[in-house]
């Protein structure tokens, strides 16, 4: 019983994080416009993709994958696939952050405007590390279910 409650909590937290993150990357509510250009720029800061078209494609696809995965966590026949997708995305994010840190990139922005702060790598890594642990836990749990 306790196990099921923990899993439900994990599912709610992970889904909540990914749903929020995905939606925020799709639409800029503050200014009432698409957030894709901003997200494209954010991806470019990591300097990982060679091709600008790839960057735009990723900026368009990734947020939707986050949203759909978050929702699919609650669909019995898709929960395992969703957990795998979420874990996979977290691994990629962690890899990108570690890579950026190793190269000394400032991924918060190119320079400061009014109140921006420089990249706080440790807190980013901790946050994504926790998400990764939750994702793996969900994959293991879902994998054990007979469906």
């Amino acid at each position: 019983m306790a196990g099921k409650i923990i899993v439900l909590l994990l599912r709610l937290i992970v889904a909540g994080v990914f749903l929020y993150a995905g939606v925020m990357k799709i639409w800029d509510f503050r200014h009432g416009q698409s957030a894709t250009p901003d997200f494209t720029v954010a991806i470019q800061h990591f300097e990982l993709l060679p091709n600008p078209d790839l960057t735009v494609a990723l900026a368009v696809y990734l947020p939707w994958l986050e949203v759909i995965s978050a929702l699919a966590l609650f669909v019995k026949r898709l929960a395992l696939g969703a957990a795998v997708a979420i874990t996979g995305m977290t691994v990629i994010f962690l890899g990108a952050i570690v890579s950026a840190q190793a190269r000394g990139l400032d991924i918060s922005c190119g320079c400061f405007g009014k109140e921006a702060v420089s990249t706080n790598y440790p807190s980013l890594l901790i946050r994504d590390g926790l998400l990764l642990a939750a994702g793996v836990a969900l994959v293991v749990w879902e994998g054990r279910q007979r469906k």
Binding site: K114, A116, S118
Partner: protein, 220 residues
């Protein structure tokens, strides 16, 4: 019985809230305003602070909003009740008008957000010269183009001379109101070929080092 299980949670929340409330460094004037002129070239602004907390605070980084602004600190760690000062140095360059330059201060206080200290500065030039670029296309009819020179009535500026360094582009000065409003008319000899000229407008202000303004003229 259920309440007992909530106690640890409440304790955690309470401690978290308590640490959040303690901002250890108190800044006297985090945002300062100045009025200067371009000849001043730079400014040093002093930001004093005091450690009002109960533990020593170490300032970790001072990040400025651009390369023209640097911040200096004598030492990094301040005991409770100790005061200190950050000196912010801003070099004007060729800037004119209002600018906001800020420095983000981060400390080892994990509960505190970085503090932004900064300055609003007006670098006043009483003169407005527009447009500073006049352009003719080759083959365009030969017509004079005019540039307006105006000075703030509170600070009159007289034009002493207008000189074109290219004889194929002549400059004529019309005084609308001495010290306040002038019109400079520029006429090319012809627009058949490419030309480039810088027209120098020599003024009488400031008296110790009078400024010369430049109009760029191009035929392309």
């Amino acid at each position: 019985m259920r309440f007992l299980r909530l106690l640890p949670l409440l304790a955690v929340l309470f401690t978290f809230a308590a640490t959040k409330a303690q901002a250890q460094l108190k800044w006297d004037h985090p945002l300062q305003q100045f009025h200067r002129v371009p000849e001043d070239k730079e400014i040093y602004a002093h930001y004093t602070f005091k450690n009002i907390g109960t533990t020593p605070v170490t300032i970790k980084t001072l990040r400025s909003s651009c390369g023209c602004t640097t911040a200096h600190l004598d030492k990094k760690t301040y005991a409770p009740n100790e005061t200190g000062e950050v000196v912010v140095h801003f070099i004007f360059g060729d800037r004119k008008g209002w600018y906001r330059k800020s420095v983000a201060v981060t400390t080892d206080d994990k509960a505190a957000e970085p503090v932004t200290i900064g300055l609003n500065i007006e670098i006043r030039d009483p003169v407005t010269l527009t447009p500073a670029l006049v352009f003719w296309k080759t083959g365009e009819p030969v017509a004079a183009k005019s540039v307006q020179f105006s000075a703030d009535p509170a600070q009159p500026v007289r034009i002493k001379s207008v000189t074109s360094y290219n004889p194929r582009l002549t400059a004529k000065l019309d005084t609308v109101k001495a010290g306040e409003q002038y019109t400079i008319s520029l006429t090319p000899a012809d627009t058949a070929q490419k030309e480039s000229a810088e027209i120098s407008v020599q003024t009488d202000f400031p008296a110790d080092a009078p400024r010369a303004y430049v109009i760029h003229a191009r035929i392309k």
